[in-house]
C-alpha cells in the first residue's frame, strides 16, 4: 500500500462519512505559490475546485495556468528548480507534502497532454501497460477494463475490431481519446487536461469536447485551454489567470456574459493577449 493511500485510509476512518462523501469540492487550493528557481510563476492563489464539474483555466501564454495545472499532480517535480508553497488539499491531504507518493497520486489525478502521446504499442496494450505495473495480470480483468475505458472514452465502437493494431494507426483525435481512455483505466477521480484538443481537427475536437462533458459525471475535470469558445462550451466554472494571479473565478455563464473584472472582459473578448 502506498503512503498517500495509507494516510487517506486513516483519515477516512476518523472523519465522519458525510464530510468526505458529501463534499462539493474535490480540491482546495490555499495560497499556492509556484517558483521556477527564483522566478515566481504563480502568486499565492486560492480557489476551490468543484467535484464532478469541468473547470476551465484560461489566460494568455505565460500566465501560470499550465504551471498551476501541472502542480495538481506534481508534474512540476520533474522540472529542476521548480517548487511550490501553500496547499493543494485533496481528500484531506496536502498533496504538496514531501511524504506524498506521487505515483499513487498520479493514479488518482490523471493527466492528458496537448499532443496525443500513445505508447508505441497496440491499442490494447496502451490501456493495459500501466495496469500490469499496478499488478493486474488476469486477462479477463484486463479485457474488462480495456472495454470499459474505451467505452467511456467514446472510442470502443471505432476500435473494438482492431485492438491489436498499433495505436499509431489511429487518427489524431482517436489517439487523444485513447490517451483519455488510458487515464480513465487507472480509475482516477480527477482528470487534468492540458489543451487536449488544440492539435485536433474540428470534428475530433467536437468529439473530445462531448466526451469531456460526458465524463464529468464520473470525474472532476480541470482543463487548460486557449480556446475561449471551448471554455464557454464545456466548462461549468472558469478561472482567468494573468501574470501568475487568479484574476477572476466564477461560473462560466457569468464569466462569458458579464464578468466582474475589466481585465477578464478584455481578455475573453479578444481585446488583449
Amino acid at each position: 500500500m502506498v503512503t498517500a493511500l495509507k494516510e487517506r485510509t486513516t483519515m477516512e476512518a476518523t472523519v465522519p462519512v458525510q464530510q468526505i462523501n458529501r463534499q462539493e469540492n474535490i480540491l482546495s487550493i490555499n495560497n499556492l505559490e509556484i517558483f521556477y528557481g527564483e522566478n515566481r510563476a504563480v502568486n499565492g492563489i486560492s480557489m476551490e475546485i468543484e467535484k464532478n464539474a469541468v473547470t476551465a483555466l484560461i489566460g494568455p501564454s505565460g500566465c501560470g495556468k499550465s504551471t498551476f495545472l501541472r502542480s495538481i499532480n506534481r508534474m512540476n517535480d520533474l522540472i529542476p528548480g521548480a517548487f511550490a508553497k501553500g496547499e493543494i488539499i485533496y481528500e484531506g491531504l496536502n498533496i504538496l507534502a514531501e511524504n506524498i507518493n506521487v505515483v499513487a497520486l498520479r493514479k488518482e489525478i490523471g493527466m492528458v497532454f496537448q499532443r496525443p502521446n500513445p505508447f508505441p504499442k497496440s491499442i490494447y496494450e496502451n490501456i493495459t501497460h500501466a495496469l500490469k505495473f499496478a499488478g493486474i495480470k488476469k486477462k479477463s480483468q484486463l479485457d474488462e477494463i480495456v472495454e470499459e475505458s474505451l467505452r467511456k472514452a467514446a472510442l470502443w465502437d471505432e476500435v473494438k475490431d482492431r485492438l491489436e493494431k498499433s495505436a499509431f494507426s489511429l487518427s489524431g483525435g482517436q489517439q487523444q481519446r485513447l490517451c483519455i481512455a488510458r487515464t480513465i483505466a487507472m480509475k482516477p477521480t480527477v482528470i487534468l487536461l492540458d489543451e487536449p484538443s488544440s492539435a485536433l481537427d474540428p470534428i475530433s475536437n467536437a468529439k473530445v469536447e462531448d466526451l469531456i462533458v460526458d465524463l464529468k459525471k464520473d470525474y472532476s475535470i480541470i482543463i487548460v485551454t486557449h480556446n475561449m469558445q471551448q471554455a464557454s462550451r464545456i466548462s461549468d466554472k472558469t478561472a482567468f489567470f494573468l501574470n501568475g494571479d487568479l484574476i477572476e473565478y466564477d461560473h462560466t455563464e457569468k464569466i462569458f456574459t458579464n464578468p466582474s473584472v475589466q481585465k477578464t472582459e478584455e481578455y475573453i473578448s479578444g481585446r488583449f493577449g
Binding site: 462569458f256 458579464n258 473578448s269
Partner: protein, 219 residues
C-alpha cells in the same frame, strides 16, 4: 493595443445604423404628431409612405448583428451589444408603425375641425417625445442614468392616458357627429402611451447593455 480593430469598426458601423434608424423613427413620430395637431394630411401621407425605410433599416441591422454573432463569437459586453441591437431595432420598428397609426388617424379625421381645442393631447405628446429623445440620447452616449431618468416619466404618460380617454368618452354623447374623430383621438392617446412604453423598453436595454443586469423600469 486594440487587437480587434475590424470587429470594433463593424460594431461602430452597426451603432451608426441604429442611430440612423432611431432618428428616422423619431422624425416619423414627430411628423405624425404634427400632422394630427395641424390636420396636415399631406404630412401624414409622407409618414405612411416613409415607413418602409425604417423597416429596411431594421432588416439591415438584424442581418449585420446576426453576421457578427456568427463570425466574431462575441462574449460579455460585445454579446450584450449585439443582443441589444436586435432588441432595440425591433422596438424602434414598432415606433415607426405607431407613427403610421397616428398618421392614419390624421387621414381619417381629414379636414374636419377638432371637436375642441387640443390641449392635453399635445402635452402628452411632448412628454412621450421627451422620453423618446432621452432614450435615443442615452443609447448614443451609453448612459444608464439618463436611461433610468427617461423611464421614470412613463408613469406620468400612463396617468395622462387614463384621464384623457375618460374625458374624450364624455364628449361623444354631447357631440355625436364627432364620434369617429373622438374615437380616433382616443386611439391616438393609446398610440402615444405605447410610444412611452417603447422608449422605456429601449431604456431598459441600455441599462442591460451597460450593467449586464435586467431592470424592469416600469416598476
Amino acid at each position: 493595443m486594440n487587437t480587434r480593430a475590424n470587429f470594433d469598426q463593424s460594431l461602430q458601423e452597426l451603432k451608426t445604423l441604429q442611430l440612423k434608424m432611431a432618428g428616422e423613427a423619431e422624425t416619423a413620430v414627430k411628423n405624425a404628431m404634427l400632422s394630427l395637431l395641424n390636420r396636415d394630411v399631406e404630412l401624414a401621407n409622407k409618414v405612411i409612405n416613409g415607413d418602409h425605410l425604417i423597416d429596411d433599416l431594421e432588416y439591415e441591422i438584424h442581418e449585420k448583428a446576426l453576421m457578427l454573432i456568427a463570425r466574431q463569437s462575441p462574449v460579455a459586453k460585445d454579446l450584450r451589444r449585439l443582443h441589444v441591437a436586435l432588441k432595440v431595432s425591433s422596438e424602434v420598428e414598432r415606433l415607426g408603425d405607431i407613427a403610421v397609426n397616428i398618421a392614419k388617424s390624421t387621414v381619417q379625421i381629414g379636414n374636419e375641425q377638432h371637436v375642441k381645442e387640443l390641449i392635453d393631447i399635445p402635452q402628452m405628446m411632448e412628454v412621450a417625445l421627451e422620453m423618446l429623445t432621452d432614450a435615443i440620447t442615452a443609447f448614443y452616449s451609453e448612459d444608464p442614468a439618463l436611461a433610468k431618468k427617461c423611464a421614470q416619466k412613463d408613469d406620468q404618460v400612463d396617468k395622462m392616458f387614463g384621464e384623457l380617454v375618460q374625458e374624450l368618452l364624455t364628449y361623444i354623447p354631447k357631440n355625436p357627429d364627432f364620434t369617429n374623430q373622438i374615437i380616433q383621438l382616443a386611439y391616438v392617446c393609446r398610440y402615444i402611451e405605447r410610444i412611452a412604453d417603447h422608449a422605456t423598453n429601449i431604456a431598459e436595454n441600455i441599462v442591460y447593455l451597460e450593467t449586464g443586469k435586467r431592470y424592469n423600469l416600469n416598476d
